[in-house]
């Protein structure tokens, strides 16, 4: 089914170009340029020339370049595009037009561009006006046109908003440019939780406990972070409202670890050991136990909810080694998901609910990221020959996976497409960075 759809996209993009002329009269929503569910994406060649300064001439040449670069980097982050080298372009952006009917699209199809993003801006008395237009070069057609007005400091938000519109329009899904990634960093000398934008921009320290802080987990509305912290001398569970910086602590005897919020609810699952062995419990957002979820002599840890909240993946060593299990919350049945290798941990459920990504440790093959269908079957290895790779987390559109790796020495955060392609470092900070957790889409962007 997916393959069939994939072939269709190929036809649309590669062979059936003339069809676009006919299609262009069909309402915008009908056309999906990028199928983010396809296992292998063909990157769309896209031209992002320097922006054109309109109005009072050519006074801010640096913005023409930095804005265009930022836009190119932002959409390139998705892995859906091949950003074309500007050296091959046939037009001087400052001399060329922004309007559809005045653009010579052949100049762009000749350099291989299938999509063209043109930008214009005006900057006077700290008022920044930016106009951004996305064109289908073969169709010779405007796909999106937007105008933004604000201050200079808003330029990143403008570009991200346009990028979100662009992704929504090209894929039929919401973008991820209004998301953040929480992670654990020793930049402050010990483990604290930091939060950065999706692309690693603007990392900020979130906790300041002076102790060990681990396992950040976002609530599905993006308003709460739960985490484990040794601030009181032992691993306790904290639920913190991000904006108001208030919250509660759950401090049962033993370990209070690995929180996972129930989608759409102010409650969460976590592993507690106050009754002996680490077992999964359901807690309210204020830290009161609702009920115990697993009953077994072994370790039960790392719960991960399915997107509909009807199933819970978790790690248990009930078979003798850590493996991933799925508990059906409706009939209570537990089934084992992973059978290959004898050390599979840290599951995360894909936003579409079809895959589970996890960390597998195989002797002499290192620690790597794998995905496996929630129905079971052959796992697919996404990282290899790159030292240890751990703690995967999905972007909310399911197209990307962030993880931590020691491939460059100390542990840092990396991002890859969900099929393992385009692995690259997210950010560089002092110390080591581990345990990334991707936020849902956040409001206020």
């Amino acid at each position: 089914m997916q393959r069939a759809r994939h072939v269709v996209i190929h036809l649309i993009l590669g062979l059936a170009v003339p069809l676009l002329l006919i299609w262009s009269s069909i309402p915008c929503q009908a056309r999906v340029y990028i199928d983010i569910t396809a296992p292998y994406l063909r990157k769309i060649p896209t031209a992002v020339p320097f922006f054109k300064e309109v109005g009072a001439g050519n006074k801010h040449k640096e913005f023409a370049e930095t804005f265009a670069n930022l836009l190119a980097e932002t959409i390139d982050f998705t892995g859906f595009f091949k950003i074309l080298d500007r050296g091959s372009f046939l037009e001087d952006p400052q001399q060329s037009a922004l309007m559809q009917h005045t653009i010579n699209f052949k100049n762009w199809t000749d350099v291989g561009a299938e999509l063209l993003i043109k930008g214009g801006f005006e900057y006077q008395e700290d008022i920044l006006k930016v106009e951004l237009r996305l064109f289908d070069t073969f169709g010779g057609r405007l796909i999106i046109g937007k105008r933004y007005t604000g201050h200079l400091k808003d330029h990143r938000r403008m570009i991200r908003r346009f990028s979100n519109d662009l992704i929504r329009r090209l894929t039929g899904h919401e973008g991820i440019f209004n998301t953040q990634i929480a992670f654990v960093s020793t930049a402050a000398g010990h483990k604290e939780i930091f939060v950065a934008d999706f692309d690693g921009y603007n990392p900020k320290q979130f906790t300041d406990t002076g102790a060990i802080t681990l396992f950040p987990a976002w609530s599905s509305d993006g308003r709460w972070l739960a985490y484990t912290d040794y601030g009181r001398g032992k691993p306790d569970l904290y639920m913190k409202n991000i904006k108001e910086r208030r919250g509660t602590v759950t401090s049962f005897k033993g370990s209070n670890i690995t929180p996972s919020w129930v989608p759409g609810e102010f409650s969460l699952a976590a592993s507690l050991s106050h009754e002996g062995n680490p077992s999964l419990y359901l807690l309210t957002g204020k830290g009161k136990i609702v009920k115990r979820l697993t009953h077994h002599w072994g370790i039960d840890v790392s719960p991960a909810w399915s997107p509909d909240g009807k199933a819970l993946a978790f790690v248990s060593n009930r078979s003798g080694s850590p493996q991933i299990y799925i508990k059906d919350m409706e009939d209570g049945e537990v089934r084992r998901l992973t059978f290959q290798g004898n050390y599979n941990t840290a599951p995360e459920w894909s936003p579409r609910g079809d895959y589970i990504v996890y960390t597998g440790l195989v002797r002499d093959n290192g620690t790597n990221i794998y995905i496996v269908s929630t129905d079971g079957g052959e796992p697919i290895q996404l990282t290899r020959d790159a030292d240890n790779n751990e703690s995967p987390t999905w972007s909310p559109d399911g197209s990307l996976i962030a993880f931590c790796s020691t491939r460059e020495g100390v542990s840092r955060i990396y991002v890859m497409n969900a099929n393992g392609a385009n692995q690259r470092r997210l950010l560089t900070l002092q110390g080591e960075q581990t345990d990334p957790s991707w936020s849902p889409r956040l409001s206020g962007y």
Partner: protein, 193 residues
């Protein structure tokens, strides 16, 4: 008259005899120096009374000193035992929380010590090596601490005296990335509260 004669005779006989005796005694004194010490004895006797007090004082001081040494030795031994209690870790196999035979031996010693120190409470820390994920290792460290606690409770140590805490892979003893370091880091540590 005859009475005077007898007295005179007696004197004639006895006095030289006495004189002889005294001269004899004198000779003895000169010939046996040992007697001189006997003559000096009273003097010596005066010194002995003081010396006895000093001797007793010395003995007392000796006793105190020995007592103090014994106490110091005991304190040293106790300190050593305490240090041994705190510094002797038990170790685990990879991904396991079961106690090895040598670990049980160490725990039996710790139980003895805990029995001798009934007012002491202990924090048992469970640790892991860096391999595997920090999440699972946190739970594994919990199990490792719990294994030692259960064994000590079975040996009669009150469970209220034994708190457990897992540090997962967060506090390695050896930060290197090799088998030797990993073996060192998979451990329980015992900390006096």
């Amino acid at each position: 008259m005859t009475k005077k004669f007898w007295v005179g005779l007696a004197l004639v006989l006895i006095i030289p005899g006495l004189m002889f005796a005294t001269s004899c005694a004198k000779k003895k004194i000169e010939s046996e120096p040992g007697v001189v010490t006997i003559e000096e004895e009273p003097v010596t006797e005066g010194v002995t009374a003081d010396d006895e007090r000093a001797r007793r004082r010395a003995l007392e001081q000796q006793r105190i000193r020995e007592e103090r040494l014994r106490e110091q030795a005991k304190a040293r031994r106790e300190r050593a035992e305490l240090e041994e209690f705190q510094n002797e870790h038990i170790y685990f196999e990879f991904d396991k929380s079961r106690l090895l035979p040598e670990s049980k031996e160490i725990l039996r010693n710790k139980a003895k010590w805990l029995n001798a120190h009934p007012d002491v409470s202990v924090i048992i820390e469970g640790h892991c090596d860096e391999r595997g994920t920090s999440e699972y290792n946190m739970a594994l460290g919990d199990r490792r601490a719990q294994s030692a606690k259960s064994y000590l409770v079975d040996l009669g140590i009150g469970s209220r005296r034994l708190m457990t805490i897992s540090y997962g892979e967060e506090r390695p003893l050896d930060p290197s990335h090799n088998e030797r370091a990993w073996a060192k880091n998979r451990r329980d540590q015992f900390v006096i509260e």
